[in-house]
């Protein structure tokens, strides 16, 4: 499973708690209320555990977590 699919699955299952939810890859996850403070922390922990990627604290910012595409491209560009 590629990173993007794994991220989408995690967000749907663990954050939105709805496997059948529609999740646009460009959707603004924060403004749409999908991600809150704890969900971001969960997502960071998931990325570290699943992909073995440690995201520096300074990189945990809106721009990198804004959407699935933003997060995927951040992970690809920096790791």
């Amino acid at each position: 499973m590629d990173r993007k699919t794994a991220l989408i699955e995690f967000i749907k299952n663990e954050v939105m708690r709805n496997k059948n939810a529609k999740l646009d890859e460009n959707e603004d996850l924060l403004s749409a209320g999908v991600l809150d403070s704890l969900a971001i922390l969960q997502l960071v922990a998931f990325i570290e555990d699943r992909f073995g990627i440690k995201i520096p604290d300074e990189e945990v910012v809106f721009e990198n977590f804004q959407s699935v595409n933003a997060l995927t491209s951040y992970l690809e560009n920096s790791h």
Partner: protein, 369 residues
């Protein structure tokens, strides 16, 4: 550090439950002694006993809970604001508040329904006041406080970015003013015309607690600058943490005795606020230090709001059940408090798991946040 915030949140969730279990322990100490002491046992004879001081010690360990929640919420605002945005979107604030308010209304409704079933009555205006002020249960003041801070956050973000020192000083001074108002209340000092101001300072939690939210925001925005300083001073922070833990503990008892009170809220003690500050900064500074039961606490972290909202119900049920079924246990603090804590954390977590595994799990956020 980010992952440690999840652990801190879990620790704070358990801390909040212990903090409120202490209230029931005090009830057992002061009002329920007839259930476990001989008939001639005086109700207040435990006032200066080891039991009171050990419960205070337990309380001292966990009084950081709400301050940690506020710190983490403030840090999140910094994350949500990002590097380039001038502030955070109102839409984000709206969604955040939505998932705070709806669960809050549900659980306030549950508590009020329990109260009605027990014969309590409310007028419509009383109900409105309870909902607006978080009055269904004493810990619910936190929800109203957090909502106000989120509403203010779009205005605070530019200040936390550009004028963070001023913002910290102003909110810090407001906190000191609030503590002064608490002290005036503890010592029954009449302030004449200033009395209404003191009432506002004491009752409007936003004034005294904003500092902790702002601190989280400021550290979030300026982590790059703060981190090396905090790491360099980490041993100083740790020493300060231990020192102020003790000073706060002593100050509480001195003030309590001088004021002739049985109990005063430890959160209203100046040096306890200093101790909590050192604790949070130490948590950031010692980011590589492992936390015992880190996995457990990081699993509880995301459930913290649900635990916070629900725990008051199982706490009360467990305490009252023990009063009726096993009153002898009320005499044993180190059994009574763990049972309450286990119920206060365990029952909400079980309820959350049941909902999470049910066909209505998509509505989970509306019930537990």
């Amino acid at each position: 550090m980010i992952k440690r915030l999840l652990i801190l949140n879990g620790l704070a969730a358990v801390g909040a439950v212990v903090n409120h279990a202490v209230v029931w322990e005090l009830t057992a100490i002061f009002y329920w002694t007839n259930r476990y002491l001989p008939p001639d046992g005086l109700t207040y004879d435990q006032l200066e006993s080891w039991r009171l001081f050990s419960v205070r010690l337990i309380d001292q360990l966990v009084i950081f809970a709400v301050f940690a929640f506020l710190f983490i919420s403030g840090y999140f605002i910094a994350v949500a604001a990002g590097r380039e945005q001038r502030s955070i979107a109102w839409k984000l604030v709206f969604h955040r508040i939505k998932f705070l308010i709806i669960p809050y209304l549900i659980w306030s409704g549950v508590i009020l329904t329990f109260n009605l079933l027990q014969g309590k009555t409310y007028t419509l205006s009383e109900l409105i006041k309870i909902i607006l002020l978080g009055g269904a249960s004493p810990p619910y003041y936190y929800v109203i406080l957090l909502v106000q801070l989120y509403i203010l956050s779009p205005l605070l973000v530019p200040l936390a970015r550009a004028r963070w020192k001023m913002l910290l000083v102003v909110t810090g001074l407001l906190q000191v003013l609030t503590l002064a108002a608490y002290y005036a209340g503890i010592f029954d000092i009449e302030m004449g015309r200033l009395e209404p101001v003191l009432v506002v300072l004491r009752d409007w939690h936003l004034i005294g607690y904003a500092f902790w939210f702002v601190l989280g925001m400021v550290i979030g925005f300026h982590l790059h600058d703060f981190r090396p300083v905090l790491i360099r001073w980490r041993w100083f922070l740790l020493c300060g943490l231990v020192l102020f833990f003790l000073i706060g503990f002593i100050e509480w008892n001195v003030i309590r005795q001088l004021a002739g009170r049985d109990w005063i809220s430890p959160q209203t003690i100046f040096f306890n606020r200093v101790y909590i500050l050192f604790l949070l900064l130490s948590f950031v500074a010692f980011e590589a230090m492992p936390v015992p039961f880190a996995t457990l606490f990081s699993k509880l972290g995301p459930k913290s709001y649900g635990i916070y909202l629900v725990h008051v119900i199982p706490l009360e049920m467990a305490a009252r059940s023990l009063y009726h079924i096993a009153p002898a246990l009320l005499a044993y603090q180190f059994i009574f408090i763990p049972i309450l804590t286990f119920a206060g954390v365990g029952i909400p977590v079980v309820l959350m798991e049941i909902m999470n595994r049910s066909f209505v799990r998509r509505y989970y956020k509306y019930v537990f946040g």
